[in-house]
Amino acid sequence: MVVQTPNGFNLDTSGKRIVVDPVTRIEGHMRCEVNVDDEGYIRNAVSTGTMWRGLEVILKGRDPRDAWAFTERICGVCTGTHALTSVRAVEDALGITIPENANSIRNIMQLNLEIHDHIVHFYHLHALDWVNPVNALRADPKATSELQQAVSPSHPLSSPGYFRDVQNRLKQFVESGQLGLFKNGYWDNPAYLLPPEADLMATTHYLEALDLQKEVVKIHTIFGGKNPHPNWLVGGVPCPINVHSTGAVGAINMERLNHVSSIIDKCIEFNKNVYLPDVVAIGGFYKNWLYGGGLSSQSVLAYGDIPENANDFSPEQLHLPRGAIINGDLTTVHDVDVRDPEQIQEFVDHSWYEYAEKGKGLHPWDGETQAKFELGPNLKGTRTNIEEIDEGAKYSWIKAPRWRGNAMEVGPLARYIVGYAKGHEDITEQVTGLLRTMDLPVEALFSTLGRTAARALEAEYCGRLQKHFFDKLVTNIKNGDESTANVAKWDPKTWPKEAKGVGMTEAPRGALGHWVRIKDGRIENYQCVVPTTWNGSPRDSQGNIGAFEASLMNTKMERPEEPVEILRTLHSFDPCLACSTHVMSPDGDELTTVKIR
């Protein structure tokens, strides 16, 4: 039987059911089930978030100034972005403004995360969907060197000897019989299309990127003391600046600034010489594989981020754009108001939670949820041994957020579509340049490959923005402003009895919002709606499928028992399940055990 969803997808469950659990090379835990027809096309897709931690329950009754540390632990991959969102939410609630230097430093840290996360995602989580390291053994190192010099003439590591060394190391690794992380990979699957030389080049860069990423994060270490999980501060940033006087060694001084500057340059170099050329080169071999568009051609959402000036979140002041596009109409970019109870609502009809009123959507400030793990009548297996899930009932730990009732895609591609539709100068230039280089029409953006390419373009753009804010920071210091924190409202005695606020960022994976209510100096309610909640959302009360599910529809699988294509498309979203599935607002009975400290 074929059922059409309100958002236009024809679901047919008659074909063979394929289960992928665990979905690997993601953050957290996720399951995916699809039905495949006789020709190998996916005709029904079901994505399940398979973990829940209940952090909002834990936040209730805590000091709002501590919330950044708790929410930062939502995710160690996009580390810092939840903390930034949290301090913004608390500052919004309490009317705290931050100094200009704090804005620049926060932006540098957030941009640094975007760059780091995009690089690690592409090389260490996503690349093996396109690149076959075993096939790299057949490469001619000399031809690989020529390929490298053709795609990226300024990358210094390109000699035949260099590639031969890597190939030898790889050869001996494979021949040892201990394949480690490559064990049971799908290396003879015809879905892999790269010639051996491209495989060797990309596998080499897998290793180069692994070395590089530990350098990239040192910007977090300098400003925040460590990475993963640097430190933040309500009212500014914790690191003081002292470039002139006694004690400068205990603060951000000239040596620290030089260190930051050199890392910014390294990021720019790598993106220019390695990451972008690799995406273009690899993408060139897959440019006829344009599956995976899903919701991207109809409904995308971005909150915007990277404010040019401190405390100003108006859309025209944001370097990453804000807006929503629905019904595939790129001529109209709607403004997004995260405070409007009619715009963002979460549904739980197919999620393992329950509302007092069934079928209703709730705005995060008024979130009302209780965990309820129950499986549908068409389940195959048992309660603790799920063989095939019943998507007609509740089937995920992820809620279903909707923007004005629409299932939305968020992330780098969503940001780039919004930016392109709005005529954002840098973004438009990058997008048209890439499409021209690859000789592809604009429709090619709405695909798995488009998602992966947008992420690479964004890393490059963020590299330039990082430099912009570094220069701005130095200029401001030069002008005599060394301030990094506003402590006027640090003391809870200065706070109103009740307050509510919202913080927004563009996390690497997309639009992220935290909604907080504060009462008597303590957190009364805390809600997060995170990128993978949007993208990984299950069906809603109307039957609309979420972005992951939509993206898998009608994809051809070369070998249905080997989920290469499913992984390829799911990974293009960079799923982050620990982020998406912690959501629960504090209505459960367990809360009686929370004590105000």
Binding site: D21, Q172, G185, Y186, G225, C239, T246, W397
Partner: protein, 364 residues
Amino acid sequence: MAAIETFYDVMRRQGITRRSFMKYCSLTASALGLGPAFVPKIAHAMETKPRTPVIWVHGLECTCCSESFIRSAHPLAKDVVLSMISLDYDDTLMAAAGHQAEAALEDTIEKYKGNYILAVEGNPPLNEDGMYCIIGGKPFVEQLRHAAEHAKAIISWGACASYGCVQAAKPNPTRATPVHKVIIDKPIIKVPGCPPIAEVMTGVITYMLTFDRLPELDRQGRPAMFYGQRIHDKCYRRPHFDAGQFVEAWDDDNARKGYCLYKMGCKGPTTYNACSTVRWNEGVSFPIQSGHGCIGCSEDGFWDQGSFYNRVTDLTQFGVEKNADQVGMAAAGVVGAGVAVHAAVSALKAAQKKSQSQPSKEEV
């Protein structure tokens, strides 16, 4: 299937010279705080020991431990994964998924019974029949028990696996439970921290491979070499503490001079970790050096000890807090005498605290 090859074999086959190999051994020795006499011993171990298979499972967690692990500078993460261990299952990094991933796990357990290390990141929730964390359609706790059964030893990475961490903070809605309360018949090394320092993680693994034994553990099960002393004991800002020079407000003149963060809530005085010595990300900095107090992330239950900005209160019984204020006021006058007395008192009280607090934590 070829026999498990030695670490030295692998390095040589990868074109690493004998000379470079010996240099590596000596760097390892110094990284572990061992003298030159240990270099030949490490070399011998590397030449004769097989590459150890590692199974790395993930429960309720945020993946910060994996992220930290790949930040390791000495040894590099790529060298650990390609040459030192055989990472046969790790759902965050492995190529295979679904059935093929599960098959890799089964295959490794079967082939290397009693010879693999189980690394656990995160912890199992026990409420709702364990279904707050599902792997392969089943509760994660089943995978954990299954993989633990034939493991040689277990490493509990980070605060989650060691103590429960954020999801186990009150009221712990999922009943997230640390590994040692679920697996009780295996040697478990706790490597706490949120996350642990990268080089501490690779240091622990390297130690086990090199000496073929567990590191010396303290009474809480942590490697004594990295968790034997408080951050406060080795903090470069300790002289400011002793001199009564404190940051009084964020971004004040004292903050810009790098004074002690004790009054801003720094938990360095009660936190056992290597942050002030090894430091973070190749020694670039650590929280205190970057202006924020330590939040105590390697201590059991650190989420439930009051605000991160409250002063360490359980030191008051030893008079340290009182001393800090008094010495702070007296500092302008007779610095020398105050420092000497205060330092002596702190050292004595620290010793008392250590001996008093540890047994109670054991009972948890």
